[in-house]
Structure formats: structure tokens, C-alpha cells
């Protein structure tokens, strides 16, 4: 199992029955494939869909059925379509229970940076899309990403890129560990098999506390 699949499988265990869930691009999108048996969640897509199926077979696509990336989806029992204003009423209004997002950086205060990379002096791309709305509106924000980027830590003392939201992340899931954001700082609660706390400190810039009982990474 590769790192990304590990993260997606672990993140899926955060979801409980009946929750309204919004999944960001990348690793978060694949979380939908690993939702535990007996758990029904209402997946919301910011372009205006609630509950939807995977990409259709060639010839079965509908030109008027796309996801938040413009890619084809399908309608399944329980699906609902609505306009974008309604979609963000759901998101900003606190009606999303959990959002799982990718991140460029998170920091020990629970801030997340996932929208901006510099393209020219003073210019940023690609834009925040719906991420700022999600981190502000969702009851629980989970950041998922591969622990380091080319060996460099992504969990920092303080985000260096423009942030998406301040102090909004509740949990960080990487392939190496699960960290909770608490009022006292980051708290290590799960560690992947074969990773030591010392190794984790070496590839994590942020300070973190260690829970009394660090559990094995749940897969």
C-alpha cells in the first residue's frame, strides 16, 4: 500500500454515519473509496451536488453532470442537485460536519496553507476556490498529505505560504502519524508501524506533544 492510499484509508475512519462530508482534490477525493461498511455519509460537492456516483462509462455520461473539477459524475439514489449559492449556504452555514483537505503546509497552531503558490513577484496561483469557505464553515477540518515534500517538512511551526484559514484544523493525517490540534499544541495520537517518535521529530518542524498512549495507526 502506498503512502497516499494509507492516508485515505486512515482518513475514512474519521467519518461516522449520517455525516455531511466534503472532500477536497487529490488524496481526499479517494477517501470515498474507503468509507467503512455500515457508514452512510452525504458527500457534498461545492458546484452543487449532494450524493453522487463515480465517473460513468463512455457513452453513459451526461453533459450536464460534472463535479467540482468539471469531470463527469453520475446520479445515484439519494442524489440532489442545487445551485452554487445553495452549496455555499451549506458550506459556510455550518452544515458540513467534516471536510478533508490536502495541504501544502500546516502549522502547530492548526493553520493551513493550501491555495497559493507564487507564480511571479506578488502574484499567486491557483486561487483558494472553495477551501477558505470549507475551513471556516465545516465543523471538523482534517488535513491529509504526505508527511514531507522532497524531504522537507510540511508540518511547520508557522506556515510560510499565505494561509487558507487560521487555527481551523482539528486533525492531521499523514502516512507516518495522526496528530490532533489541541489548545496546548499538536498531540501525537497514532504512529505508523516502523516509525519512531525520534524519526517523526526529525521530519516535522513543528513541536508536538506525545499522547500518554500513542496508538498504532488504524488501517
Amino acid at each position: 500500500m502506498n503512502a497516499k492510499e494509507m492516508i485515505a484509508r486512515r482518513a475514512a475512519k474519521e467519518l461516522s454515519n449520517g455525516e455531511v462530508v466534503n472532500l477536497g482534490f487529490g488524496i481526499p477525493t479517494t477517501v470515498a473509496n474507503f468509507v467503512p461498511e455500515g457508514v452512510e455519509v452525504l458527500l457534498e460537492s461545492e458546484n452543487g451536488a449532494l450524493v453522487f456516483g463515480a465517473a460513468p462509462k463512455d457513452g453513459e455520461e451526461d453533459p450536464d453532470l460534472g463535479n467540482a473539477g468539471g469531470l463527469p459524475i453520475t446520479m445515484i439514489p439519494g442524489s440532489a442537485c442545487f445551485d452554487e449559492a445553495t452549496s455555499f449556504c451549506i458550506i459556510r452555514g455550518g452544515h458540513v460536519d467534516t471536510t478533508i483537505l490536502g495541504a501544502l503546509e500546516v502549522d502547530q497552531e492548526g493553520s493551513i496553507a493550501n491555495w497559493a503558490t507564487p507564480v511571479a513577484p506578488g502574484k499567486w496561483s491557483p486561487g483558494m476556490g472553495g477551501a477558505m469557505d470549507l475551513v471556516m464553515g465545516a465543523k471538523k477540518v482534517i488535513a491529509t498529505f504526505v508527511h514531507t515534500l522532497k524531504g522537507a517538512p510540511k508540518i511547520l511551526k508557522k506556515c510560510s505560504l499565505p494561509i487558507t484559514g487560521k487555527g481551523c484544523v482539528s486533525k492531521i493525517i499523514t502516512e507516518k502519524c495522526v496528530l490532533e490540534v489541541t489548545p496546548k499544541g499538536l498531540l501525537l495520537v497514532e504512529l505508523a508501524e516502523g516509525v519512531t517518535i525520534e524519526e517523526l521529530r526529525a521530519c516535522t518542524e513543528a513541536e508536538f506533544l506525545v499522547a500518554d498512549e500513542v496508538k498504532p495507526y488504524q488501517l
Binding site: S45, L71, E84, G127
Partner: protein
């Protein structure tokens, strides 16, 4: 009260320096026929407002307007799906104003609904705060997001009757009904123009009050073919 027009009649209203809103979300529900015609017309210095730039990878949707450098300023929430737009941003040929997606659509709604603005917490303590007025209500801090309004809006519906009642299909509704409200002159491009009375009153997504002109776009059959081709060619179908 027949609002059906020829594309050329509508193009007579499109001028250099105008502000234009386009419906659609990453290419779905986009008024492709009108966009193509505007690209061909060569009008320039446009201020364009749309949720995001284009279908992922470009070459579709609003892409020709970026490629032709017809857009001076783009007001949106995300531009990364369009290599053309990112390139223009890098070289300084394009000014971009980003808003969080929910704030963006709410600003457009405010523009259409006669609101002077809305108070949001989205973007507080981020770069989005820059240059914005803040207000504290009952001890909570908010940003004041002002309305967006345009000279013209181009929306895409499934069907319209001749008075301008517009029906949408599935997620192709996205930003269209909101954008329809927020311009001086709203043009509805549709797959089919039908008689008054043919659309179920409960399926009207944009009531005729908001629509000034109706344009025959691709037929539904052509529309299906266009999206089949873009999705198949980019490997999105199983």
C-alpha cells in the same frame, strides 16, 4: 414579448472595456456558443467574472478569451485549471482578483438582489482581508463583501421559452441562476427554445424577469457530443 435573438444581434451589444459574467463551473454549464463568438469578435479589455477559469487543462470553455488576451481583469475564485490564464498572470498580461468561492457567488447574488453587501467570516486573518472593510457585530468580526454586477451576463440553460423562463439540467445549473440576476443585460444560451407553457413552472430555474435575450446554442444532441469528446479525449470516461 419574444426575446429570441440572433447571435449577431447580441454581439452588437458587446464592446471593448465591458464587464461580463459567464455562467458555468469548470466547463459544465458554460455558454460555449456565445464564448466562441466573443472570442472571434476580438473585443478586448474585458473585465470577466466567472467562478473558475476553465475546464481543467484549458483549450475549452473560457480558454480562447485568455489565449487571445481579450481579458484585462478576471474576478474569480480559482484559475489553476487554465494554463492560458496562469501564463497570462505570470507575464503580467492579466490582472486577477481572487475571492473565496462562497464569497464570490454571494457577492454576485448581492449584486442581483439589491444588497449593499454581505458580512462573512470567510477569509478573516488571511490575504483576503487586504483592502477590505471589517465590522464587528455582537462581538464577532466580519469582512464586508461588496456586490458584484456586470454590464452583461451570459448564462447556459437547457431550454428556454420565448419569454425567457429558463430550465436547467442537473449540476449544469451551478452559477447560472445567480449570474442571471446580476447584469444589466442577461443572455441565455440554451439547447432548445420552446413555446411558452412547455416548461413545468416548477422546473423554471431562472424566471423570465432576469432574461433579456435568448440564443440558440448547440442542440442537445450536439451538446452531448461536445462533452463526450472533451471528457473522452481527457481520459475521464471509464
Amino acid at each position: 414579448m419574444n426575446k429570441v435573438m440572433e447571435l449577431d444581434q447580441v454581439m452588437g451589444k458587446v464592446h471593448d472595456g465591458m464587464s461580463i459574467m459567464f455562467g458555468g463551473f469548470c466547463g459544465v454549464g458554460a455558454p460555449l456558443t456565445c464564448i466562441q463568438k466573443i472570442a472571434e469578435s476580438g473585443v478586448k479589455d474585458l473585465t470577466v467574472m466567472a467562478v473558475v477559469a476553465t475546464y481543467p487543462g484549458g483549450h475549452f470553455d473560457l480558454a480562447p478569451l485568455f489565449a487571445n488576451k481579450q481579458i484585462k481583469k478576471f474576478i474569480c475564485s480559482h484559475v489553476g485549471t487554465s494554463p492560458e490564464a496562469v501564463q497570462a498572470l505570470k507575464t503580467g498580461d492579466l490582472e486577477i482578483e481572487f475571492f473565496p468561492q462562497g464569497s464570490w457567488i454571494e457577492k454576485v447574488r448581492a449584486g442581483g438582489a439589491g444588497l449593499g453587501g454581505v458580512l462573512v467570516r470567510t477569509g478573516l486573518h488571511t490575504m483576503v482581508e487586504e483592502g477590505k472593510e471589517k465590522i464587528t457585530i455582537d462581538g464577532i468580526e466580519y469582512l464586508i463583501e461588496k456586490p458584484l454586477h456586470a454590464d452583461m451576463a451570459f448564462i447556459k440553460g437547457y431550454r428556454a421559452d420565448k419569454w425567457g423562463n429558463v430550465e436547467y439540467r442537473y449540476t449544469a445549473i451551478n452559477s447560472n441562476p445567480t449570474i442571471a440576476t446580476a447584469a444589466d443585460f442577461t443572455v441565455a444560451e440554451v439547447n432548445e427554445i420552446v413555446e411558452v407553457g412547455d416548461i413545468d413552472p416548477q422546473r423554471v430555474g431562472t424566471p423570465a424577469v432576469f432574461v433579456k435575450a435568448i440564443i440558440q446554442g448547440n442542440t442537445f444532441k450536439e451538446h452531448k457530443a461536445v462533452y463526450h469528446d472533451i471528457w473522452a479525449s481527457t481520459g475521464q470516461l471509464k
